[in-house]
Symmetry: C2
Subunit: 284 residues, 2 copies
Amino acid sequence: MSGAGAANGLARLSLNQITTRGWSLPEAVRGCVDAGIPAIGLWRDKVAETGLARSAKLCRDAGLAVSSLCRGGFLTADGPERRRAALADNLQAIEEAAELGTDTLVLVVGGLPAGSRDLVGARAAVADLLAELATHAGDFGVRLAIEPLHPMFCADRAVVSTLAQALDLAAPYPARQVGVVVDSYHVWWDPALPEQIARAGREGRIASYQVCDWTLPLPADALLGRGHVGDGHIDFRTLTDLVTAAGYEGWIEVEIFNQEIWDTPGELTLRTLIERHLTHLASP
Amino acid sequence: MSGAGAANGLARLSLNQITTRGWSLPEAVRGCVDAGIPAIGLWRDKVAETGLARSAKLCRDAGLAVSSLCRGGFLTADGPERRRAALADNLQAIEEAAELGTDTLVLVVGGLPAGSRDLVGARAAVADLLAELATHAGDFGVRLAIEPLHPMFCADRAVVSTLAQALDLAAPYPARQVGVVVDSYHVWWDPALPEQIARAGREGRIASYQVCDWTLPLPADALLGRGHVGDGHIDFRTLTDLVTAAGYEGWIEVEIFNQEIWDTPGELTLRTLIERHLTHLASP
């Protein structure tokens, strides 16, 4: 976390590349370097497009840290065949993360299986597959970072809905194998947030701090309602203070799903990112 | 909870009148009687339209129980003037509930004040105003029923987002003054639900059990995404078993916000309600 970013107040800023979705991986790498952003969170589809080895080399040669790989997970599929496929895909994601030089693989655990209402069962399936992945991750120096998603995504994307629940799932494993993501959009509303962030810190499990803002109205596709930090209802100073007080000193990764932002030229998006980081997130 | 409904399997069914939004209060009362539904949850705007005394008499004469009045709350307004107005409105709502013959006033507590990001402050404001309302409610034989709303409504409708939080807010008051609403749509995703429903039961605070289903995709107006019981992702048998095991024997009130259902003739809606109640909710 040294290098380009240190002198310009951006020492902890990372671009999650979904935020500049129109850019290929090489474009995103160049964009970060040009803007003085020292780290990037990669997405597997973008990595696949460019090639794994080439993606790794591009980041390395650019002096860019890889803050995370998005994403493994989708562990709730039912039936032994789908379950085996999910397992294989996650094992591969772990190895990709290692080759890309990041220690953080973000897990979006998946929603209810098609046609199922068995939330308890889906949550149990996540716990089961974690048990099969944790050691493998640790062997590759990669930490599985369980991301609780906002409860409005419980049915279709992630049956892990709170930080407390993510920490309970992580509890059986060493902190270097399984951690959690604190994503502002997903957890800001949680009345138990202060105590659960403190707990995550005590247990050494904060693997990633991702940020974007809660803006209203929700769009037709609720997935795409996230805004730039500062455009919505989240109190980032208070949230960041909690994360900092919990001992987290890692990357602050900006991950925004928003069609309008995706339609904006990447350079402009990075300019906004930087301005908001300095205003709302960087230490004074 | 005796009367018309007992013989037809509908002994605990109540129509929350927002579900048949096109109907006036007299029409909704007649609709319930014709369909054999023994109770109704009233809305203040509909009561005002018909007149308070007349509304009370219509329900009484029809032999219809009033399961709840919706709604008080909106306690997060900032500034002494707005605060006084909120207090006055809630005091009036308490008296209306008493005159209508219901012991349950549902509270939707309100979102962040306009332009504010102070979630902690808004939550504290709710606690403060509850302190000013609880005794008054008790004096009128009315219980304030705090309704946790789904976290996706935290910014704009209700800063009370979980059952645990609602119970914490209720804790300083006798159970006959302050209770909680368990609304399937708002709480189904909560990993802490089994323990919190059990706690609500132990503390004698389940004032209302409201039902509708979580359907996807969310519509443009996220408020209107609720479906008939059985059309979505919620496991009503498991949820109802939890509520029953907690000792709740009261009304099961169907409250649906959904434009398509609102555009359906009320008689048809009630037919669906009844069919779904018998299939998914009534004891076998």
